[in-house]
Amino acid sequence: MAAAHDARQVSRIKLAIGPLSGVEAELLERAFTVARMGTLAETAILDIEETPVIVWCEACGTQSHASLNRLLCGSCGTWRVTLRSGDELLLKSLELEFPDQPEVAEAGRGAPATGDGECHV
């Protein structure tokens, strides 16, 4: 993705990981120290947001926090709930560094799109 945007380096990788995704954030952080070697993300900071387990109960209209193996409505206790949060495994965003492109600084908020069909980040 960094290469697709002609970036020189990845400086930060933001992830969202829920406990029901099956991925342990701590282990992923350790694996990342090895996986990033020799890549554009070699010096990147891995920023992991651990999302809470939240369920929605349609019967009583309650949204509540739940534990990993007790996905029950916090109000009425039913198991007929929908998971609202907790199974994410998402790459939320990347912070990229670019070669000398001082003009980017002027792109600013709501800069008009250029006519060449490219998206200037």
């Binding site: 029901l20 991925v23 996905l71 965003s93 001082p102 600084a105 490219e118």
Partner: protein
């Protein structure tokens, strides 16, 4: 959203750096390369591709998962004995080593592809995709994918299956669903296997196992079966019948050739000889 590349607006501030020096900053709410892409997107992409292949041929694919030794292969043998004349069955076997399980299935006259995963503790969509090249999908009604015996990692990899079936043998603890919530939460059917042993085991309560599955907000059926007692397998066979009906109905309503190869990875779909 950016109308050119589809990237989205983020509420967070952005820094653009050059050799550690910040050359530009962007205040919050401006433009970023917000991606929100599933990290497993490559696997998911291939899994969708596998799912399309299977749907094109009206094949029901079932992902069988459990801990090692809970009776997946024995269940398959008993299933082939009972349903082999009704459905054209094929099997993909996943194991770290040996072709033993595929050989057991082949001995029943059913085509089987063994995926030897080495030290990989799960099957992924690419392995299944590659294994499909060794099967003639036009000659298959039901494809069983016997995953590597493991209640952890296989839960995280979509293989393109229509349904997940998780086996919990009576010789394990009835609290396995509470211990492995990711696996059991994703189960479309939980089979309590080796149920013929329940009378001699004083520490396995099928009701407790069911309750632990419900606690994962999962309403899946949890029947008790034994591969050694074919008469106990009826709930499993009935479930397969319903899934096959569903796969066939979906297939009937599907435009011919709907599945085009839009994906980026390069591979060929040449007919491969069936391995039996």
């Amino acid at each position: 959203m950016c109308e050119y590349c589809g990237c989205t607006t983020t509420p967070e501030a952005i820094e653009i750096k050059d050799r550690g020096r910040v050359v530009a900053t962007r205040p919050a709410d401006t433009h970023s390369i917000e991606v929100l892409t599933g990290i497993l997107s490559e696997n998911d992409h291939l899994a969708a591709h596998v799912r399309d292949h299977l749907a094109d041929h009206g094949v029901l694919a079932v992902n069988l998962m459990s801990s090692p030794g809970s009776g997946k292969t024995s269940l398959l043998e008993a299933t082939i004995d009972a349903l082999g004349d009704t459905y054209r069955i094929a099997v993909i076997e996943g194991d770290l080593e040996t072709e033993n399980d595929a050989d057991r299935v082949r001995a029943k006259g059913v085509p089987a592809i063994q995926v030897i995963t080495g030290q990989t503790c799960h099957l992924d969509a690419r392995m299944v995709h590659d294994a499909l090249h060794g099967l003639d999908l036009g000659q298959i009604d039901v494809l069983f994918i016997e995953n590597v015996g493991n209640l952890v990692c296989p839960a995280s990899f979509d293989l393109g299956q229509a349904a997940n079936v998780v086996l919990l043998s009576a010789t394990e603890g009835d609290d396995k669903p509470a211990k492995y919530p990711v696996m059991f939460r994703g189960a479309d059917l939980v089979l309590i296997t080796k149920a013929d042993l329940i009378p001699v085991l004083d520490d396995f309560d099928p009701e407790k196992a069911r309750s632990h599955v419900r606690d994962l907000a999962n309403g899946a059926d949890v029947p008790e079966v034994s591969a050694r007692r074919p008469e106990t397998l009826k709930p499993w066979f009935d479930w397969i019948d319903r899934q096959v009906d569903h796969a066939r109905q979906s297939h009937a309503g599907r435009p011919i050739g709907e599945h085009a190869h839009h994906h980026h990875s390069q591979h060929h779909h040449e007919p491969v000889e069936r391995q039996t």
